[in-house]
Amino acid sequence: MFPIRIRDLRFRPNGRPVLDGVDLDLGDEGITMVLGPNGAGKSVLLRTLCGLITPSEGTIDWGGTARSGVGVMMVFQHPMMLRASVLQNVAIALKPHRVARRERHLRAEAVLERVGLAGRRADSARHLSGGEQQRLALARAWLTKPRLLLLDEPTASLDPSATAEVERIVREIRTDGTRILMATHNLGQATRLGDDVVFMSAGKVREHAPVRRFFSRPASEEARLFIQGELPWRMNF
């Protein structure tokens, strides 16, 4: 699957360029933070990588193959919560993997233990708090042991303590050997979690640099303005 090489990726629904020639290389380990203003194309890039969006042009090379097929999971800002128990909501991730129901539940219980939700396994998933629901969504993704995990602003609406808990789990998943690509608007989170930063604006990757260098010496003017919180929300680059 790795290295992932994205070349000249374009997505133009109704002629409007949402991804406008993205070039990006991703190695086989670490956490890459995807930063950029609203409408930069961060979420669309993640959706393209997990196959939800078919690009208009360009290629994604998955370590020598055209399509990854399996091993990619994504956690959304507002994850799906079925009208079922916490345990069932996690175990369902293994349904397409032809794992027996009992085995699914055993594995789900183990991963719930790791995200701190074991005590709530029988509760309704819809009665969890926002932070707990994100932990459930991470557990669901983790259960499938993905090679690449895409996180689309999973802490966008969480308070600091819930955010910290999600970040702890993300680090653990990374330690387990999963490559992580995470979109966020939280610059502090990017410095805490990230190994490197991909900065996007107007559908292009403007900069890809190690996290420390990106924040201390951003290469582009847009990135500098973004870090300082002065990037106009609608710029014509």
């Binding site: 959304f76 994850p79 919560m81 397409p96």
Partner: protein, 234 residues
């Protein structure tokens, strides 16, 4: 000429004494309509879910047809099933005409479009919210259908109740394919129509009361179950 109050009084005494004729008619009605609703649930709900999440040419046209068939006249279904099951029809050899099985077939055809149309609407709303995650988890099309039906199970109770109401209250189809034969194919609606025309209003009213009570009890049960489920699962 019986008065309004004396008719009701006799009707209640028929019910209070648990009249055998009334009991037999009620039991057959429940068997026929219950079977039709079970079959309608097995066919209509997955069909509605498939229409909700499937991508195929003519999907919108299929949805329009399904919605249109919700108002399918029972007598039309009765005539079609009659033609299919009559001795000269394609299924005439089975000898099903004027049997409860024919009535079940007719009522199933009546309730399937209704249940499928409601299910399509319910599932489509949920599918719009879940589609991306189910696709990311690489659910097959059928796994998505079963997952959505399970998730919407409490809302789909409305579809089942609507089907039951349609099946229990229709008279045209069962009259044509069942023949309203005493102690064989006489159900509550056909009995009410017959007894009213004969002037035996107490029996007609007694059956009407049972019909209404059955539908009210089932609706109350479904309402309570849905309320419990909403509290339990959100």
């Amino acid at each position: 000429m019986p008065t309004f109050s004396s008719t009701f009084s006799e009707a209640f005494s028929l019910l209070a004494t648990f009249d055998r004729v009334v009991a037999e008619i009620v039991l057959l009605s429940l068997q026929v309509s219950g079977s039709a609703v079970v079959l309608g649930t097995l066919i209509g709900l997955p069909l509605g879910a498939c229409l909700a999440i499937g991508r195929f040419p003519g999907k919108d046209a299929a949805a329009v047809v399904m919605n249109g068939l919700m108002g399918l006249p029972a007598v039309v279904v009765g005539v079609v099933v009659y033609l299919l099951l009559s001795r000269s029809g394609p299924f005439g050899d089975f000898g099903l005409l004027y049997t409860p099985t024919a009535m079940v077939i007719a009522q199933t055809l009546l309730v399937v479009p209704l249940m499928a149309a409601i299910a399509r609407q319910v599932v489509e709303d949920v599918w719009q919210r879940y589609a991306e995650e189910l696709q990311v988890m690489r659910f097959t099309w059928w796994q998505s259908v079963t997952t959505l039906l399970y998730d919407c199970r409490h809302s789909l109770m409305v579809a089942v109740l609507a089907g039951l109401g349609r099946a229990m209250s229709e008279v045209g189809a069962v009259m044509i394919v069942g023949g309203n034969i005493d102690r064989a194919t006489r159900v509550m609606t056909t009995a009410i129509a017959l007894e009213t025309s004969k002037g035996d209003l107490p029996l007609a009213i007694a059956l009407g009361i049972v019909l209404i009570v059955v539908i009210l009890v089932l609706n109350a049960g479904a309402f309570a179950m849905r309320a419990w489920a909403m509290r339990r699962y959100g």
